[in-house]
Amino acid sequence: MSDYIRICEVEKYYGSASNVTRAVDRVSFQVDKGEFVGVMGPSGSGKTTLLNMLATIDRVTAGHIYYESTDITELSEDALSDFRRDNLGFVFQEYNLLDTLTIEENIVLALTLQEKPKQEIVAASGQILKLLQIEDIRDKFPYQVSGGQKQRCACARAMVNRPRLLLADEPTGALDSRSAQILLETFTDLNRRMEATILMVTHDAFSASYCSRILFLQDGKIFHELVRGEKSRRVFLQEILDVLSLTGGVLSDDR
């Protein structure tokens, strides 16, 4: 059993004593180094809550989350800030770029927070800009580029630190199909070439078919798991669709 990332009996309840909603109900799983894991499920199944807890944005009600030997559920607020900075990368549906900074500066900002030397920052940002093919727009402001380019910039910012885990919440949600495909190929590329470990929440079967393993969540519990193995993406996509048809399909994402 790998101990790269372990989620142990994690629970998250909302509401008061008389009216409790179990958003996540005793969920346990592991993520291996270099895995590309997808989390799918209908609205209100607890996908985003689970991701937020892994992302240290939300606290668990019970259970533990270990990144190797570190239990993030025990960390103080300041320690969590440092942990996020050094170990996690985020890609959200809304890009979350700072619109007063250029594309390149958005990426550089993440590195400067780690107080790395200038040469290293310049080299790392140059490399990731090239890898994600956004070199030619490096000096543009977010409002001057397309949604797909913005999302690749967000990806670059998330990956430039070489985080232990890249968390993506509906990253293709606001993109057209071509941009979505490019982004997913970028994820696959990052996963293969940089050995990035990725956890992606999505309700879109096509996006999910790029993952190596998929966890299906319903009512806060994992009810199914699919592993791609050596299967082609097309076959894997069909398997996903089959699982979804069992649960009545997934309509829209929950927030």
């Binding site: 944005i57 800030s81 900075r85 619109d99 927070l113 409002y143 910012r157």
Partner: protein, 712 residues
Amino acid sequence: MTDKIMKKLSFRNMKRSTKDYLVYMLTMTLVVALLYAFGSLIFRNGLEQYFSMKLQGLMGVMIGLATFFIMLIVSWLINYMVKFMLERRSAEFGIYLLLGMKKRTIAGLYIRENFLLGGVSFLIGTAAGILLQQVLMAVMFSMVQMEYRLSIAPDGRTMLMAAVCFGGCYLLALFRCKRKFKRMNIQALMNAKRRNEEIREKYEYGKQFLFPLSVFFIFLFWKMFGRLSSTQQVMYFLIGLVVTIYLFYLGLSAFIICYVRKGGAAVYKGQNLFLLRQFASKMRTMQFTMGTLTSLFTLALLGASFALMFSDYENSVLDGKFPFDVQIYSKNTDDDFAEEKRVIEENAAVSSFYSYHIYTDEENTVNTWMLTHLQAWGAMFRNGDGTPDEAAIERVLRDESGDGTYYTYDTYMGLTDYNHLRELLGYEKVGLGRSQYLMQIKPRLEREVRKIGEELRIKDASGRGFLSCAGILAEPFSQDGHNGADYVVVVPDEVLGRMRPYYAELVADLDGQAPFGLQEKLEALLPAGESEEALYAEGHVAGDICCGSDTIINVVELNLVRDNQLPEVKYMLATMIIPLFYIGLVFVCVAVTVLAVQQVSDAAKYQYRYEVLSRLGLSRAAMERLIFKQLAAWYLCPALLAVVISGRMILFASDRFIMMTGVPTSVGGFFGKSVALFLGIYLVYFVVTYVEFRRNAFVTAQTGSLHLLQRP
């Protein structure tokens, strides 16, 4: 590197804030400029040296007081804006937290940005303030009819005061927002922009009655305000008014919501549904702020109107108050004024002296008529049936209260003296028959005493017959105690035979201007117990001299040197006028800024709504009209309420002011002028908001809607 990019980040953020909150920046700059310009009057008041001891520091105290109230409101504005910008940028702060920035660092970044913003306002504002201060000094010097030479130089103490006041407000606001940062939570921040505006609608049916109720209270206020007779009643009414101002908006928004729900006819016309809903929801979220803005507008209108009243007095009445170059009173009827004449001659070129007596017959027929007929006294000296209240009249004439309104006995002047004085003033001489008398009265009272001739019975020289009234003259004649109080009865010289001299007067006609300080030198001649300061200390405002029915502004001096006295009174009035304008100006600007910023920064939210409307087929022109209507309603609402409320108080006060001081303005004049002044400032802000809002709302067409959703 970290530091460099953080600096870049805060600088760019500040630049963006400047663009988004242009109106706020402009107001802050203006406030600093005003703070500097008016504040300089505390430390570097070039005028003060010319005036007597009792005026020293007066301007400083008044400006200091005004500054205190202004700083209260400005610190409210800064606090409001710092909080407001913080909320607008929650998603951005969420990203910082996600990237692993610590809360301290983010708070530091935000504080740095705000200090940059404040710093820029401060620098530009101070520069503008130095210029404005020169304008202000020039205005003040011209107010007191002196020449001012420009001297543009920054004053260290003023700058320090402006910095301490302004910086203090910022520090307070930022200290409070630091606590807010501590309580922040990433998830709430990240989700903030995704949430729809929360529209809480509860108990609307009940709340809507607050609207007619507050309208009724305001109606009652209009009806009753002039009739309130005790301080207690006024207090109750004012408390009621403040409550009404705050509840009005709650009621109005509920009223509109209920109207829309009921499906009233107007809902189905044009874009009314959109407008009404938009207006009601904005009113609901802003109700408390709207109440505060209405109060600020009301205070600003009141301040401006009072300033206009005093300034009108200064321009139209005051000059007539001192017609003679020098005039001296002496209660000693044998006084030959030798000492005074010597001092005047030593200090100025005298063209002529003239000394004379005011006489009395030791009766008070005229005084009684005045006390029972003039508006200023109302029913104070009348019994219920309209007959004179002898006891009250006796009390006031015996001067037991020490307020020196009228002399104990009626005042008379001989025709020869009268004509001599008229000649000195350049008036035409008058003639009188043996059995006639003339009434010389203050210009203000001319209309009120028309019937005095028919009702007064003044005995002739023999004491058996009566004189008839040959007319009433109302040119300025120094009647604040010198040539009688309010009036002097002019009789043929032989009638004086049955009277006794009451007090002595000396007038001097000078060649050219009187030198500074002449009045003080004359005052120094008074015996120790009769000096002005001694009389003030005893609680006798006027001592032996009586000033008549003037209230509000009284100038009572035993020794009057016009060229000394006039600038001094004008300066004293300026110490009222300037702070009142200062307060009014800042209050209006602060209030309009909040209105403007609320709308402009909401434009991003409206972009989405307008885009939806556009997709539904609304033309660009129709949308522009819609924006205009929306902004106009938003701007007009608090202004109208303030105009209605302050209107009653201002009209009442103007009526009294005109009656008591005799300024020649119509009752609505001051109110009209201050509303016009106020609308001028309002219009500037409205245009800026409209232009900004349109620009923001239609940006969609160029950049696409995704950009809108992405902006934090």
